[in-house]
């Protein structure tokens, strides 16, 4: 799975938890999940669980605590997929 595919799948995972859908239109790798997309912290947990299911990976605590931007999430998922 390449980076673009991961990015698109992650956007689909994130989307239901973004309260203002128009915020999704300007998403970049620097976009912060909580500050920019207004995702609440409990939904960050949901995103981590959904990403584990979709990519068939396990996101450990150290990785989860760094998943604050779209770019960081892509990087972590990419690394975990390739280390399977």
């Amino acid at each position: 799975m390449d980076k673009n595919e991961i990015k698109e799948k992650l956007k689909s995972i994130i989307s239901p938890y973004v309260p203002q859908k128009e915020l999704l239109e300007t998403i970049t790798e620097e976009t912060e999940l909580m500050k920019d997309l207004k995702i609440n912290s409990q939904h960050l947990v949901d995103i981590i669980l959904d990403a584990e299911d979709v990519f068939d990976i396990e996101i450990d605590d150290d990785s989860a605590e760094k998943m604050l931007t779209v770019g960081a999430a892509i990087e972590i998922v990419e690394k975990l997929i390739h280390s399977k």
């Binding site: 500050k35 605590d61 605590e65 604050l68």
Partner: protein
């Protein structure tokens, strides 16, 4: 310093059992998991602990530059139905929780004897919950500190996601925290 967090229980659907265990695994320490799973209403207790963690996290994020999401580093200790502590590498915070059939509200403070005001209100769909909390909070400040002759102009400005209180150009020592979730909006003011 003070932190407040509200969770609208009607905004979350009940987790399926398998999903709930995974949520606990991601967010709670072993001691917390034992407490939650040993209770009569595990999912309800989970939300109490979550609001305790979140309210304490708001204090931590005011005084420390933390750039991480790590709910397990904020470990709750429940003393009774309303009181508890949140222990973390950044300090321990005294916490009071308020239960309603539709929400959990927790307020944490860095000083157990801190005197504070708080208010929780229902926000209708047309209102901006953040603006509503700010207006309600400013009204309370005016009520407390201004006389008819001496109207004090308070203002709340945000530094990142942290609300701070100003009187003119000077930053007030009174600490505040705002939370909104679902139909609820809440604020807390701590008089230093």
């Amino acid at each position: 310093m003070i932190g407040i967090d509200v969770v609208d229980l009607t905004s979350f659907s009940v987790y399926e059992e398998a999903r709930f265990f995974r949520v606990l695994h991601k967010t709670c320490t072993q001691i917390e998991k034992q407490f939650i799973l040993g209770s009569k209403t595990p999912q309800l207790e989970y939300w109490r602990l979550w609001t305790m963690k979140e309210s304490a996290y708001k204090i931590v994020s005011k005084s420390n530059r933390i750039d991480q999401f790590s709910p397990k580093k904020l470990e709750t200790e429940v003393l009774n139905e309303s009181e508890g502590w949140v222990h973390s590498p950044w300090g321990s915070f005294y916490s009071k929780s308020f239960k309603n059939p539709n929400y959990w509200l927790s307020i944490s403070s860095s000083d157990k004897d801190c005197i504070y005001d708080f208010k929780i209100e229902i926000c209708d769909q047309r209102s901006n919950p953040s603006l509503m909390a700010r207006n309600s909070l400013l009204a309370r400040l005016r009520e407390k500190f201004s006389s008819e002759k001496d109207q004090i102009a308070f203002e709340i400005r945000y530094q990142g996601s942290i609300p701070k209180l100003y009187q003119g150009v000077k930053r007030e020592k009174t600490d505040l925290s705002i939370s909104h979730h679902g139909i609820y909006t809440a604020w807390a003011l701590c008089y230093l």
